[in-house]
Subunit: 423 residues, 2 copies
Amino acid sequence: MRDADAPFVRVTTGTDQAALRRAHLGLVLRSLRDEGGRSRAQLAADLGLTRAVASGLVGELEARGLVCPGARQRGAVGRPGTTVELDAGLVCGLGAEVNVDHVSALAVDLGGDVVAERRVGLATRRLTPDEVLDELAAILRDTLAELTVGQGRHVAGVTVGVAGLVDAAHEVVTLAPNLGWRDLPVAQGLRDRLTSAPAPLSVDNEANLAASAEIDPADPDRSDMLVVFGEVGVGGGVVADGRLRRGRHGFAGEFGHMIVDPQGRPCACGRVGCWETVVGLRALLEAATDPDDPVRDPALTLEDRLAGLAERARRGDTRTLAALHEIGSWLGTGAAVLVNALDPGVVVLGGYFAALGQWLRPAVEEQLAAGVLASRLGETAVVVSTLGPTAAVRGAALASLEHVFLDPTAVPRRAETLNGAAR
Amino acid sequence: MRDADAPFVRVTTGTDQAALRRAHLGLVLRSLRDEGGRSRAQLAADLGLTRAVASGLVGELEARGLVCPGARQRGAVGRPGTTVELDAGLVCGLGAEVNVDHVSALAVDLGGDVVAERRVGLATRRLTPDEVLDELAAILRDTLAELTVGQGRHVAGVTVGVAGLVDAAHEVVTLAPNLGWRDLPVAQGLRDRLTSAPAPLSVDNEANLAASAEIDPADPDRSDMLVVFGEVGVGGGVVADGRLRRGRHGFAGEFGHMIVDPQGRPCACGRVGCWETVVGLRALLEAATDPDDPVRDPALTLEDRLAGLAERARRGDTRTLAALHEIGSWLGTGAAVLVNALDPGVVVLGGYFAALGQWLRPAVEEQLAAGVLASRLGETAVVVSTLGPTAAVRGAALASLEHVFLDPTAVPRRAETLNGAAR
């Protein structure tokens, strides 16, 4: 979740000095993450701050364990230790995911490296919401203990990704057709179960989180990007000018319920011909397999099913290849609609679309070439996500870290921590 | 074109002092426009600047004729003349439009009021591009003379709206199916014809300009907005987080070429079933009238045709009402696709959709209620544009003014102007 709008300091009516200082602290931290360690003088020049202000900010970040003296600058002849760099180790962000066949947790440190990962297979649809939240709380409790007691880290926040509509306050899953959930207060349910919830805890749409994990400020083609994420349901995210755009009520990216085939199949949402009905996992399984096909065995994980289909495609199995071409064509038909509207630099295929991307992509490209008005003028590349099945939970962990970049003072000064520990 | 991202001062690597000062000058100017006149001290506090810096900025804007001493603050007992306010009168932005049946020009002053307007009916499709540019140059020449010689104003820029794809450099119309233009260097063509082009001159997509004219920073529902603009062609704009989003290559908003009816009619673009084929003006005329209907008379202006149809609808003419319901349903079907993807607070119906909006809107609302997954959770309102047929050219004029808000030093100091005049 590297957010292109974040390095802006908004000068607004009534901005108070403390808010401005928090924004500046976040700006320094983000700059050290995105552009690497350097001297205080260089940092000040890069950010348009005076050297005294920059030094003060660096000092405060150091007291909170977020930056540290850097390695001696290569080739520099000055004093050692004049550079500063991100101290990635102390703080981490925790992500979690509730999916149709598993719950999982994953933590990343301030530099984005994975420092903890857990996953439990679970037929979530057959359990009550309370049972699912019990399982999720258990996995989060274990991971939190590992991170804090085991690794001595500070957890900046917990973000839970769910395949469904989440309210704007990031508290309640209002509708998750594929989990059978409606108006479920997930955030409060987890707070009740985690007696010492140490950090901000929020809920977010899984596909939006997976989309945010694809943002790369170093790649201009990804500043405007469409991420299409396929599982049983289909969703994704719209990135415009470097930032995930959530819409007025937070429901942007519900691509799965665009109607593309009005004379087609009924959808789990109650409508007919949603994109999900022609490109979701069920459509693939129906096109590629018979009902008694071993790939449909509900005991198999999603990864195993997809590996089975990929193996058949690799062997050149005619039915499998025809099914992938059909799904790819529908994927391209819907993507073309969105590309006409949004003109992204890339369309990223995520989730199961990525696992089978090499067979889906040619048909998607064909449909984009045919269906996009400006296709010969500004090329939109079709890219297969490399984040694998952990894209959403990784996006959730990165989202949790944003709390630190927005307000580094949320991390206690180390003296405060020591005092706390001594009590 | 009140641009929500504009009041941000980006602190970037290598920002130089002059660029920062230009950004601060623009910030002060924008704040005075959007939030009204006030004292230098209040302005400084509102913008988080020191009073000395704010006074310096105000002084420079005053020297350039952009701000002036304000009316004495109501109820204040201090010295008179301590407030400053926007001096809207000196500077104006000029917009122009090339449409299938006319070319036009319109200028607005710094406060957004219209100060000049011209329009010439022209069957642009039957003329060569050179002939159209000749007509456009003539109307621009007259309007420029009126603004500068007649009214003594400074023209900040000229923006020409064209119903077609425009390259990212805002110079060339690469494809305009309804004008029959391809790769036409419109900006250079006009510069060649206007011997003393006094200002930045650029070309932009007409529907994008119309969309930007709908942005209203005071209305949070318009921070995420979909503007759908109907004429012979159909286009529009995507506003996310307060700003028109243009996509990677500048082609966002080409809604007209979303395929919504794959078994339907051929489109001018060469594809089948584009949204334009079912909601464009031709579809309406075909559904509502016979070929020999007087409303189809090519000698009529678009406004006259629409007035004729509105009159029939008002009288309760069955065929007209059925046609409007059919077009409204298709309009809603396409809008629902976009609302699922973008979750706007409002969908604005512009262009001919606005002229007949009262009859189209109910069917659009029905389709949104039926086709949007989150429709019962976060309501997207359907709103009829009140900007009338000048939305695009007005958006063009506002776009021209942006040059001043981005860099007020583009307006010469008044002393410089006087020296220039004395030479």
